[in-house]
């Protein structure tokens, strides 16, 4: 196949995987909608009076729920395959062929792929059903934005980027970014659930119709999220995996490459500054988890700040300071 054909194939694979992500998202929304009848938030006493009937409803909807969940995961697996195909063919489309991360479009394409694959790998071990709608929705939205706003045709890499350290640096940065993103989702859910638990004592008017159904779906979703301590622990595990990789990417491989390309290990270029900021914020997160008064909620907020700095570095720096940064992919 020619390079142009590979490029076309890559673009088509992006469209294809977006369709499957969308299908997966629908399936997961249906899964949580189907869960509506499960009497999780049923006031005590109601269940006891109509015993037999209730159990039947529960069983039926659980089966339906599982079916949707499975459909969603299957669609996500297909989407991940197409997504990976899009990444690989993007690399093959360049002449000479190269690693597919020469610009923001390609970087985002690959990082979202890592998010999906990471989620699928951990799905079973940590029973991540609760993460499914978040991951599929997130990846779908980011991928669409990537294709619509950041798309760039394939070109060769500038000389400065042609170094094995670039490959190592960027692979590590992308894996860490994907993992931090998953960890950030768990931290965000932690905050949402904590807030919901705080307010669950309050009386709230029951809404009818569509809005009521959506609210009920949300309630069910939140009720079925793992316990706060488990969410926190999952978030920690993922962050603890990502942090050393980020350390390696940003503070070892990056500087080695910068030394070879520009004659200095560290030059406080905007990209480097923000990689450093991200590192420090995540170090603060790990500290916070071990500091009285900062565990839990404060730590989760710090993790989300860390994720914000990470993505800002990716997208924001290129947009706002592109001209100032030696890293800018213009």
């Amino acid at each position: 196949m020619s390079h142009e054909q590979f490029e076309l194939l890559s673009n088509q694979a992006v469209v294809g995987c977006a369709v499957f992500y969308f299908a997966a998202l629908l399936a997961h929304v249906a899964e949580w909608a189907a869960a509506r009848t499960v009497p999780v938030a049923v006031p005590v006493g109601v269940g006891a009076s109509g015993g037999g009937d209730d159990t039947e409803v529960v069983e039926e909807s659980t089966a339906k729920r599982d079916r949707f969940a499975r459909l969603g995961v299957i669609a996500t697996v297909v989407a991940a395959g197409l997504h990976l195909l899009a990444v690989v063919t993007r690399g093959l489309a360049a002449d000479p062929i190269r690693v597919p991360w020469g610009n923001m479009y390609e970087f985002t394409l690959t990082a979202t792929c890592v998010v999906t694959i990471g989620y699928l790998l951990l799905y079973r071990k940590y029973s991540l059903t609760w993460l499914s709608p978040i991951v599929t929705g997130f990846v779908l939205v980011i991928l669409m934005a990537d294709a619509l706003l950041l798309y760039d045709p394939v070109v060769r890499l500038p000389d400065a980027l042609e170094s094995p350290w670039l490959v190592i640096h960027v692979i590590a940065a992308i894996i860490a970014t994907g993992a931090f993103t998953i960890g950030g989702m768990a931290s965000a859910l932690y905050l949402v659930k904590a807030r919901w638990l705080d307010r669950s004592g309050e009386e709230r008017p029951q809404r009818a119709g569509f809005r009521g159904a959506v609210a009920a779906m949300f309630r069910n979703y939140l009720a079925r999220l793992p316990e706060l301590t488990q969410l926190d622990r999952f978030a920690y595990r993922v962050h603890a995996f990502a942090f050393p990789i980020w350390t390696f990417a940003a503070l070892i491989a990056g500087p080695i490459w910068a030394q070879a390309a520009w004659g200095r290990y560290w030059g406080w270029d905007p990209k480097e500054v923000w990689a450093f900021i991200t590192w420090v914020v995540y170090a603060a997160y790990l500290h916070a988890r071990a500091t009285a008064g900062w565990k839990g909620r404060a730590a989760a907020i710090i993790a989300i700040i860390g994720l914000a700095t990470l993505w800002f570095n990716f997208v924001g720096i290129n947009f706002f300071f592109g001209a100032n940064s030696q890293h800018s992919y213009a």
């Binding site: 000389d159 622990r233 503070l251 500290h287 916070a288 500091t291 009285a292 008064g293 900062w294």
Partner: protein, 536 residues
Amino acid sequence: MSEGTDTTYGEDRNRAHEVAPLAPREFGRWAWRQLTSMRTALILLFLLALGAVPGSVVPQESVDSLAAARWRDQHETLAPIYEKLGLFSVYDSPWFSAIYILLMISLVGCILPRTKIYLTAMRARPPKTPRNLARLPEYRTFTTEADPEAVLDRARQVLSGYRVDRHEGSVAAERGYLREAGNLLFHVSVVIVLIGFAVGSLFGFRGGVIVVTGGTFANTVSQYDEFDPGTLFDAGGLTPFSFSVTDFDVTFATEGREAGMASDFSAALDYVATPGGETRSARIEVNHPLTIDGTKVFLIGHGYAPDITVRDADGEVVFSGPVVFLPEDTTFRSLGVIKVPDASPQQLGFRGEFYPTAGFSMETGPVTVFPEAKQPLLSLQVFVGDLGLDDGVPQSVYALDTDEMEPVKRADGRDFRVDLSLGELNFTGDPITDTVTLPDGLGSITFNGVEKFVKLQVSRDPVDWLALTGVSLALLGLLGSLFIRPRRVWVAARREQGRTVVEVAGLDRSSGGDLADEIEGLVAQLEDRAHMEDGR
């Protein structure tokens, strides 16, 4: 290891809330405890992150001095305030230094006592079996026919990798002692990195120089265009090498969507490592510097240097040679100036653009259509007067000081412009020649050809390996700290009504630990074995 930290640090942390005592001695101890508390470390980390932000927003002197100067010109009211706040060199500013120095003090104050505690804890035996195992976070119990002693022997075997103590009727085990070591190694390495940085920037140097192909460079301070030495750098210690740039190659893609993109830069150097030594040849490329006795020469940029001759009215040559024009963008439209102090009757100055492959339209005027010098065009404005070279103030070779100069005018009163090509350009019907005679008997200027120049960076960091070693050790320590799971396990077995009751309990001392699986596994192995013995 929240529990672990609580035992070693909890005390300090709790006391850190106390109100400041007034007696100097007590106050000192109080302040020290505050500074070395986890809370302070956390806040200082935040301040460090926050403090780094302005450096990415305001142009930094040390990163891009040109951009910083431009910014100053554009923001006349803000610039002095920013200057005071050190915002043009955030990372050397007193307040940024204050943050990281406090953090380092806090860090050392944190490492030392922890190391002391660790040195004793390292040799400690697992804690005695608690009386009530059921109260521990993980707890299982089962009964078996096997003898209690056999069960405990078996537990001892299964708990390989643990430090195990056998007590009366129970086994106490602990593992993961290295976690704290990893954590300490990590924090010590952070200090090493900082020392590496400090030493490098104190004793090293970095310089930039532009050399036209065919030109030479000797490694002395005066030959650098920019020279940025460390505070304790000894200029006499510059490695006495010299080199000439014999050739520079670059390939521009000519078609497709990458047209105009430059790649495969390489410069050929002939260098002499010590005066009088033998001449060696080398090629340097982006990502492939040349190292001479620990000093590195990097290729970081390139551009064009048109070769110009200026003659006075009598035809005497008053200036001749290549002039560096600095590229403005990737099309290599370049700006430069030519200063002719020896011109008579008055000094001459030229300022203008160089277009490597010129195109022209009435709307845009001259533009570059391709970055390679295929159809070069020079378009210059001419000034006469005093170049200001003699008043002792050093001048940039890339800027013309026109305070004491007048633009040369045409008869119709408009500015006189010199357009020069190598003879093949003709946009408006008038061919553009390679020589133009200046009005008012000022002489003539000739465009002889185009040379290339390379921008080289020369640097030496005597301990560049130190910071990198530090980071690598930090990573190693971090892996230990995050992935070694310190945990304690107890197994108790006693005879009760003719059967053996076995209790297994565990405590995870890491922040991410999930002990259930491991306890489950341990129980399975013990039960299994016990059943086998039952069956016998």
